[in-house]
Symmetry: none
Subunit: 126 residues, 4 copies
């Protein structure tokens, strides 16, 4: 799996990693029992510090998504798929809600929002 990290979007790198690993599991790109790329490997491929990857993996362990296999790296837990599928939409929804709440405050109209959304979705086809 290849990460897409942005150093400028305000979201901490370790959290971007957490989210993208969850997405990969939710999508089936990583399946139960399979091993996630090693800390060093992932760090190299994403050009970030190994400690940053380690922190993301640690967070995923406390959430029950990853499980350490001594000397063999980190494996995706059996519950991971369910956890990640459940939280995937939720993660998007939370951010979306926050934006739309502000939009309402700004008295932008619902139709203006719909136009903005459709304009972005139109790019997805490519």
């Amino acid at each position: 799996m290849q990460l897409r990290i942005s150093a400028t979007n305000g979201i901490p790198i370790y959290e971007q990693i957490v989210r993208q690993v969850k997405f990969a599991i939710a999508n089936g790109a990583l399946t139960t029992g399979e091993h996630v790329p090693s800390v060093r490997e992932m760090a190299a491929s994403a050009a970030v510090n190994p400690n940053t990857v380690a922190r993301a993996y640690r967070d995923l362990q406390t959430e029950g998504v990853l499980l350490p296999v001594r000397g063999m790296g980190l494996a995706v837990t059996p519950e991971a798929r369910k956890l990640c599928r459940g939280s995937r939409l939720e993660m998007i929804r939370e951010r979306l809600q926050s934006v739309l709440a502000e939009a309402q405050l700004s008295e932008v109209t619902a139709d203006e929002i719909r136009q903005l959304v459709e304009k972005e979705l139109a790019k997805w086809k490519g």
Copy 2:
């Protein structure tokens, strides 16, 4: 004007203040020449640290939206309305783009996004 501050949405409090003052100006709730509430007053009504309000006001001065009037506090500049109306949709668009970019990465479908959006917009009628 009454601020609605969320301490948990990840956006710095001072920036939430900046944005909401801009919205108020764009909407005509604050008009040219009118004075913005004093730092102390605003801080008290929104239950935030006065330093935080001061920082927001400082940023608004830098952008040319507010202007200090000796002994009278801060006034809305003549060009403020234009500045704020112009940036209002843009501010929303930026955040929306960021969310949808992540949504694409997560392989959520466009229709799922539309449903989430409509679900939120439905709340606006109240």
Copy 3:
């Protein structure tokens, strides 16, 4: 609060900190709303790296024991006391259970265990 850190007992320093902070809360040495010593302060007084303290505090946050107050440090949550009182005995019990499970395997007798325990408890009076 003053930590007692052992670098040689096998328990990670950050976890020793986590446990001792919980003990302090369970005992009432730290009460709801009160602020825990700052990362830098605690690090200095315990002669450990600030990052190590920060990690312990971060873990305590994810457990809901501490809550960040922007710019003001970390406060003990209202639920903290309950959480910590509940887990205090539990933390001891877990380790005790592990030792006694091994003792049973080694076929040490129950009376030998009782003697060992009493010998240690006798030291507590001082």
Copy 4:
């Protein structure tokens, strides 16, 4: 001999093996001259990595408990029994001391400790 390995109690697997072999010798389950199960056999029966068993056996050789016999595997040395009987209680005592030291720090009372201990010992009758 059948090992009981816990992957979650924090004690390295190889050390659990070392200790349990010592217990078996102290109890007479393994006697002088007798051969310990082969690395492969032990690894299979305990479902651990053969390297891990090999390391445990290596440590036991270093301590003079096991002795390699050309082409025949590892035999229990004549002095093993004495060594193991002597260290058995000591091994337990060390861990017990560590737990009780923390218990004292947590201000759990001596009586609470006694109750916990008795509760565990009560299970031994089975």
